[in-house]
């Protein structure tokens, strides 16, 4: 048995042990869907454990409320175990399966990929552009394409994004199938309504009462929820910026860079600012997090994604600010390199937690919780 498999078996066995205790207690029933979903079972096989672990938002309310947390001999501490199991599910269901080990050293993997994409793009541009192109300013419509032709810029992005989409789609289907999501859940408007509400409002980072979850101690705070909102909606706005830019270029015949008050720039700027606030805030909270309930060693996946998103958004905002200057060509190359790197790693990053969480919530549906 490989070291990884042994570790994963241990996490699943530990989760079964803990859930048997939790299921005999049930005091945490009001916090989040994990516990009501747990009560549907009397024993916990791997697929149930995967489902429950992906319902967990790691708010750590259950740790702080637990009378059996260490040093009690029952040694109950669910959040880090669920965190380890989520990482395990990402690896287990990823397509292609050969990519599974990438989740183990995710920070190193992301660093290598991003370095490679930035360096390779820089080298290529240095070799293939006309002398002086990268040292001078370019303005007016099509200025970016004077540095990197549109077909190349979009072509590379297209290949990477299409592969990424195919990968996360297959991975998600595999996960959904394994965790028991059925046609009944998929066709239920009530399940969709509950899921969309839970995802859009990050309801379950509210602590069960809406006052927020725990980070460094037992104080309730909505900070994590809000920083996560900045990150999630920031990412969404950047996606929207790219989509509107594509519409402008393909159907309206208008070429980037767009004016500051055009839709793509407004979406992109607000999204970028949101991502900087969100990822910065989440990284800051993680540094202060409770060492037992939110241990740092399990956060390799989180940090890799957050740092990448931060780099992409900071470089994008810099590019926007300096797009009229002679720094534009190199800023563009670095930004594109970071964006390409981000999308290459995306299917093999913490990004997939959003999909798995949504699918788990879809299976859970309206459940039994009435929460603010």
């Amino acid at each position: 048995m490989s070291a990884e498999l042994i570790a994963s078996t241990r996490a699943t066995e530990e989760a079964e042990r803990l859930l048997t205790i939790c299921n005999a207690c049930r005091y945490c029933e009001g916090y989040c869907p994990v516990f009501p979903a747990m009560t549907e079972h009397r024993s916990f096989d791997a697929s149930t454990v995967y489902y429950l672990a992906n319902l967990c938002h790691q708010c750590t309310a259950c740790y702080h409320a637990c009378q059996y947390k260490p040093p009690h001999q029952f040694d109950v501490n669910l959040p880090p175990v669920f965190s380890a199991i989520r990482a395990q599910t990402f690896a287990e269901f990823v397509w292609p399966a050969a990519a599974a080990p990438l989740f183990r050293h995710n920070g190193r993997f992301a660093a290598i990929v991003v370095t490679l994409t930035v360096v390779l793009l820089s080298l290529a541009m240095n070799l293939w552009t006309a002398p002086g192109t990268l040292a001078s300013s370019h303005t007016g419509p099509g200025a970016f394409y004077a540095v990197l032709p549109h077909s190349w810029m979009a072509g590379i992005a297209g290949v990477i994004v299409l592969f990424g989409m195919a990968s996360v789609l297959v991975s998600s289907i595999r996960f959904a199938h394994h965790c028991g999501l059925t046609r009944r859940h998929l066709l239920s408007p009530a399940h969709w309504r509950a899921t969309i509400t839970a995802v859009a409002t990050l309801q379950y980072l509210g602590g069960g009462h809406g006052d927020g979850c725990h980070n460094e101690d037992t104080h309730n705070s909505n900070l994590r929820r809000h920083f996560h909102q900045f990150t999630m909606w920031g990412f969404g706005l950047c996606f929207l910026a790219t989509a509107t830019a594509a519409v402008y270029e393909l159907w309206l015949g208008r070429l980037s860079p767009f004016p500051y008050f055009s839709l793509p720039v407004l979406f992109g700027t607000s999204g970028g600012v949101g991502l900087v606030i969100g990822t910065g805030g989440l990284l800051w909270l993680k540094r202060r997090a409770h060492p037992q309930a939110l241990p740092q060693d399990a956060s390799n996946l989180d940090n890799a994604l957050l740092v990448q998103l931060m780099l992409v958004s900071v470089s994008g905002l810099l590019l926007l600010a300096l797009r009229e200057s002679s720094a534009m060509p190199w800023l563009l190359i670095i930004h594109l390199g970071l964006v390409y790197g981000f999308f290459v790693t995306l299917p093999f990053s913490k990004f997939v937690h959003g999909l798995y969480r949504t699918l788990a919530l879809l299976r859970y549906g309206p459940g039994l919780l009435q929460q603010p």
Binding site: C25, R26, Y27, Q67, Y68, F74, T218, Q370
Partner: protein, 463 residues
């Protein structure tokens, strides 16, 4: 934190009652020291293991359904204690329970609808979101905010009196002896159930087989110190909240997960393989608190609940796996019970079962006739293998022998006088109201109501 030599108010014990007292006194501008024997991570006494309090109320509030009147609350209390209660104090607790609920909510405590499997309590008991540990976390935060000085790992072992006045407490803190004087003292340090020697004094050797469901820190140091100083007591040292729990639970602190809800669907036999009480007398939440004493009265203080595979899904899952066998003799062998007797007990039971319509969630008509004792509900033949057994032991929550108090929470002396500046709240005085028996959530209500009274009284004493 260094201890001073003098404080306005000293509260001994950081459970629900102590927190309510400390916060109340601090909010009235007093400098309060809360002395908690446990380290911070194990703080809160038995409050850690609680989950609700019983509240009188007129309409839906804090997850409670319907209403629960003073008359109903009093009738329940009167029934379970068989009248062995102090009516004025009991009615004080009942009337102050709703203001206590509001006070808790104002201090950040969140409630939730009653947990699944406890729906029969939904109109009388308000459930803490996340349970008692979450409640105590919130109250510790409120205490810090109110300026209470919280001292962990501080054990009070003696109390000094001059006449009717308490002058100081002393004990151990940070490896050294300490003495702390104060203008007023509130004792909220619980019963003595975790004191094995004292339990043996009360129960004899049987006590060695009891499990303590809650904190290992309630050894009754303050209770004994005050008894030696002439405090009047109430209740009998053998009276306590005792339930039947899984015999495999840890000696201390097993809490809620050590419960076994299978009894009404089972037959329970003793070490000799014989039944001794009507397992189906009533719903388990109404009966579990008598089963501790029932098992305590059996040889070696142990019982075995035996079911067959028909009913395994009808009760809350247990934390310890059932002991399983394909036949009753094989089960008897595993449990080391007399095989012949157990076989006969099961056969006689099966023959005595009358036809009826089985409803696990209702008082059904499945019963036995001609047995001593009969099983009056949920009696189905035990005939479908595999067979399962859960061992039962008495699990003690808290003892009822307590300090006698008046309606101002003042500790009474055996000479008939009341202490001027010494108050008690929580399990250390719950015996005033609970002479025997129990109804769920009453302990937390007594602790909170008397904690607030004691804190307010302590705060308003002239220095």
């Amino acid at each position: 934190m260094p201890l001073p030599e003098l404080a306005d108010v000293v509260v001994a014990g950081g459970g629900h009652a102590g927190l309510c007292a400390a916060i109340t006194a601090a909010e009235q501008g007093r400098q309060v020291y809360l002395l908690e024997r446990a380290p911070a991570v194990m703080r809160g006494g038995n409050t850690r293991h609680t989950r609700n309090l019983r509240v009188m109320h007129d309409g839906p509030v804090a997850g409670l359904t319907g209403s629960y009147s003073e008359a109903e609350f009093w009738a329940d209390l009167h029934r379970v204690t068989a009248g062995n209660t102090n009516e004025p104090l009991a009615r004080l607790v009942i009337r102050e329970s709703k203001p206590l609920l509001d006070w808790l909510e104002n201090h950040g405590v969140h409630f939730q609808p009653s947990l699944r499997g406890t729906l029969n309590l939904s109109h009388s008991n308000a459930f803490f979101l996340g349970g008692g540990c979450a409640l105590s976390n919130t109250l510790y935060q409120a205490a810090e905010q109110a300026g209470v000085q919280i001292v962990y790992e501080c054990r009070v072992t003696s109390v000094s009196m001059e006449g009717h006045r308490c002058t100081h407490v002393s004990g151990q803190f940070e490896g050294a002896d300490f003495t702390l004087a104060a203008n007023a003292f509130v004792m909220c340090s619980g019963g003595f159930q975790a004191n094995a020697a004292w339990m043996r004094e009360a129960w004899g050797e049987a006590a060695d087989n009891f499990l303590i469901r809650g904190t290992p820190y309630n050894e009754g140091d303050v209770l004994r110190a005050l008894m030696q100083q002439g405090a009047a007591t109430t209740g009998d040292p053998t009276q306590c909240h005792a339930v039947a729990i899984d015999a495999r639970a840890p000696k201390y602190d097993g809490g809620i997960v050590s419960r076994l809800d299978c009894v009404p669907y089972s037959i329970v036999v003793n070490r000799q393989g014989e039944r001794f009480y009507d397992e189906g007398e009533d719903f388990w939440p109404k009966r579990y608190a008598i089963w501790g004493r029932l098992v305590a009265a059996q040889p070696e203080q142990i019982g075995y609940a035996i079911i067959d595979s028909k009913v395994t899904e009808h009760f809350m899952p247990s934390v310890f796996p059932a002991i399983t066998a394909e036949s009753i003799p094989a089960l008897a062998e595993q449990l080391e019970l007399p095989i012949e007797t157990l076989n006969t007990t099961v056969q006689q039971f099966n023959q005595a079962v009358q036809p009826g319509e089985y409803h696990p969630q209702q008082l059904d008509d499945c019963r036995t006739v001609g047995l001593t004792p009969n099983k009056t509900h949920w009696a189905l033949p035990i005939d479908t293998p595999p067979f399962y057994a859960y061992p039962l032991r008495p699990g003690i929550t808290f003892t009822y022998l307590g300090l006698m108090v008046d309606s101002t929470a003042r500790v009474q002396l055996s000479d008939g006088n009341a202490c001027t500046n010494l108050f008690a709240a929580g399990e250390i005085m719950a015996g005033n109201i609970l002479g025997q028996g129990y109804c769920a959530g009453t302990g937390m209500t007594i602790g909170g109501v008397f904690g607030r009274i004691a804190g307010a009284q302590a705060a308003c004493l002239p220095s």
